[in-house]
């Protein structure tokens, strides 16, 4: 379990969170009132 492994996990998680942000915005856009 190396430094690269864990930094990759962190980058992956934060990247996923940013994608989640825009995913929620897209969902909101589909329900635009």
């Amino acid at each position: 379990m190396t430094d690269l492994f864990f930094i990759t996990i962190a980058i992956g998680f934060f990247g996923l969170s940013i994608a989640y942000t825009y995913g929620c915005e897209r969902l909101r856009g589909d329900h635009h009132d």
Partner: protein, 603 residues
């Protein structure tokens, strides 16, 4: 419950109520961009920070921009801490010469994530692991940053309710800077001096080697404790300078320091409910939230204190006197400090787990089954019983949205909260925030309860405790249940508590579990990340959607949310959701342990 216990709870709540209005009003002014009495002395610091960092505090951010800014900031500070911990052997302020050996990659990952998410879960004993630089810089930066982020998010969510027909929910950088300079810094400066006056050390000396009366050598760890202690409690962080955390006399010298600590932990979480009421234009709304939190808190305090004071039936069965008298605290004193006794320990346990602080002045693993169930349940509610700084309020607002939705379903009206219609998107986001917490706690607990990891070969390292780094020998555990101090239901509780604590960003533990293995370090770190950011993102989305809505004037059919009825409904929703979601886990852990304890006592 003893009279002392009752008086402590009443005085404690009286102080929290007294602090709420002045501190809450101050925060409302700070985050509203208004001048306060501190701006004359500290305004230059705020303006200078904006200039150096190139921030325009007047630039309003859409919720997506706010969220990405928060995530980028959190990632950058995580990375800084990870690198600093791994390189601590090369950095200054390290008289004990700790290095990368004491901080392997999995532990550094867990620790950096832990402090970034305001959890401050510590799989290690700090005094044999961390240099002063690691403590004061790498970790302390998060004690400030994560607290400021939590409060900023709460303010952004409040703006979602308070604003109408706009895109923006504030400026993340301005919120964090203002929070740090005008809220955390002044309170921390005063509090640190109080801690030093009460006997908490603040020095850079190497550890003292003392010779005991029997001629043995004893190492007495010390260092810059007071400056860490204040922000640890004020920011509901919880990460201690010493392994024994607030049970250690250098972190928590006596009963007055203990009481001061409790007030610090709930000062901002209590006050921010008043801030909420102020910012939405009706302080009764804030008091309704406060009242719901207080009701949940008081029940937990009474149950926990009573359970610990009753002790275990085994002692009574063995004709051992367990009543509280003038010369003994009585009850279950295992794992508790004599200088605190039952009442102060039980109160601390409920306050710290309600608050997502995680500091401990007693060992929760030693609590009776029902006494231990209360801290566990507090975390499982989503840390909304006052909760973490900011996190408690936005968590409770998540439940408020669900409460008005359910109330609306019952009467066939479109739900409204604070003049905003609660529609499909808002409910979806609230549900996403709630469900991700449940998935994390239950999923990881189930996985660790059953997974068999290799005990031999290269993969054995996945669940090996690196004891050789701390002067001992490595321990290979194999199955994830091998790390537990207890078998049976209490052992399951150790696992369940660990993931409830990680997901809820609490940081306390049933510390019988040996969590400093790559398996637990990685899985608990993931639960912390999920519990923090996967909850924040949908709630910010909800805030963004609400800010765009028009205000609907109240009518005779509007369900009032500034009343005792609403507070009671809110309490009911929190308990119902928590109970329904987690009852199986609680049944397998503390509940069956309680019945088993009573049954065994009669054998």
């Amino acid at each position: 419950m003893t009279t002392l216990a009752t008086v402590q709870i009443l005085v404690f709540f009286a102080l929290i109520v007294l602090i709420a209005k002045p501190l809450g009003s101050h925060m409302a002014r700070v985050f509203g961009g208004d001048k306060t009495f501190l701006h004359r002395g500290l305004g230059w610091l705020e303006r200078g920070t904006y200039r150096v960092l190139g921030i325009d505090p007047g630039q309003d951010m859409k919720w997506t921009t706010y969220s990405v800014a928060m995530l980028a900031f959190s990632f950058a500070t995580f990375l800084f801490t990870y690198v600093a911990l791994r390189l601590q052997g090369l950095l200054p302020l390290n008289p004990q010469h700790f290095g990368a050996k004491q901080m392997p990659p999995d532990l550094a990952f867990n620790t950096a994530v832990s402090f970034t998410t305001n959890t401050n879960w510590q799989s290690y004993a700090p005094e044999v692991t961390l240099s002063y630089f690691s403590n004061m810089v790498a970790l302390a930066i998060h004690n400030w940053a994560s607290a400021a982020v939590g409060i900023a998010i709460a303010i952004a969510v409040i703006r979602g309710f308070a604003r109408k027909s706009v895109d923006g929910i504030g400026n993340f950088w301005a919120d964090v800077v203002r929070c740090t300079i005008y809220v955390l810094l002044p309170l921390a400066l005063i509090g640190a001096v109080v801690f030093i006056a009460l006997g908490v050390p603040q020095n850079f000396d190497p550890y003292t080697i003392a010779t005991t009366l029997e001629g043995a050598k004893q190492t007495i760890a010390q260092g810059p404790v007071a400056s860490q202690e204040i922000i640890k409690q004020l920011g509901t962080n919880g990460g201690g300078f010493f392994n024994a955390n607030s049970a250690h006399p250098f972190e928590n010298p006596g009963p007055f320091a203990n009481f001061f600590t409790l007030v610090l932990i709930w000062s901002i979480p209590g006050a921010i409910t008043y801030t909420f009421g102020k910012m939405v234009g009706n302080t009764k709304q804030g008091w309704a939230i406060f009242g719901a939190m207080a009701a949940l808190a008081i029940v937990g305090m009474v149950v926990c204190t009573a359970a610990e004071q009753a002790g275990t039936p085994h002692l009574a069965h063995a004709h051992i006197e367990t009543a509280a008298t003038a010369v003994q605290a009585g009850g279950n004193m295992e794992g508790k400090e004599v200088r605190f006794g039952i009442a102060a320990s039980a109160l601390f346990a409920t306050v710290t787990t309600g608050a997502s602080c995680g500091a401990v002045n007693s060992m929760h693993d030693s609590f009776t089954p029902i006494g231990g169930l209360v801290p566990l349940f507090n975390m499982l509610t989503g840390e909304v019983i006052f909760g973490g700084v900011g996190a408690g309020l936005y968590g409770m607002l998540m439940f408020a949205v669900l409460a008005v939705f359910i109330a609306g379903l019952m009467v066939g009206r479109t739900p409204e909260y604070l003049g905003k219609k609660i529609e499909k998107f808002e409910v979806q986001m609230a549900m996403l925030a709630m469900l991700v917490l449940a998935a994390s706690v239950l999923g990881f607990s189930a996985l660790s309860s059953v997974i068999h990891l290799p005990k031999e070969g290269a993969l054995a390292a996945i669940n090996t405790w690196p004891g050789s780094a701390y002067g001992g020998s490595d321990s290979v555990y194999g199955a994830a249940t091998g790390n537990l101090n207890n078998s049976g239901p209490h052992g399951f509780s150790e696992i369940f508590y660990a993931y409830a604590s990680g997901t809820g960003n609490n940081g306390s533990a049933f510390a019988g579990i040996t969590a400093n293995t790559p398996w637990y370090n990685t899985t608990i770190a993931l639960s912390m990340l999920i519990g923090r950011f996967m909850m924040i993102v949908p709630l910010l989305a909800m805030a963004g959607a609400l800010a765009k809505k028009k205000l609907v004037p109240a009518s005779s059919g509007t369900f009032p949310t500034d009343t005792v009825t609403f507070a009671a409904l809110l309490v009911g929703i929190v308990v119902l959701v928590g109970a329904l979601t987690y009852f199986p886990g609680l049944a397998l852990g503390p509940i069956v342990e309680h019945f088993r304890m009573n049954a065994l006592a009669t054998l």
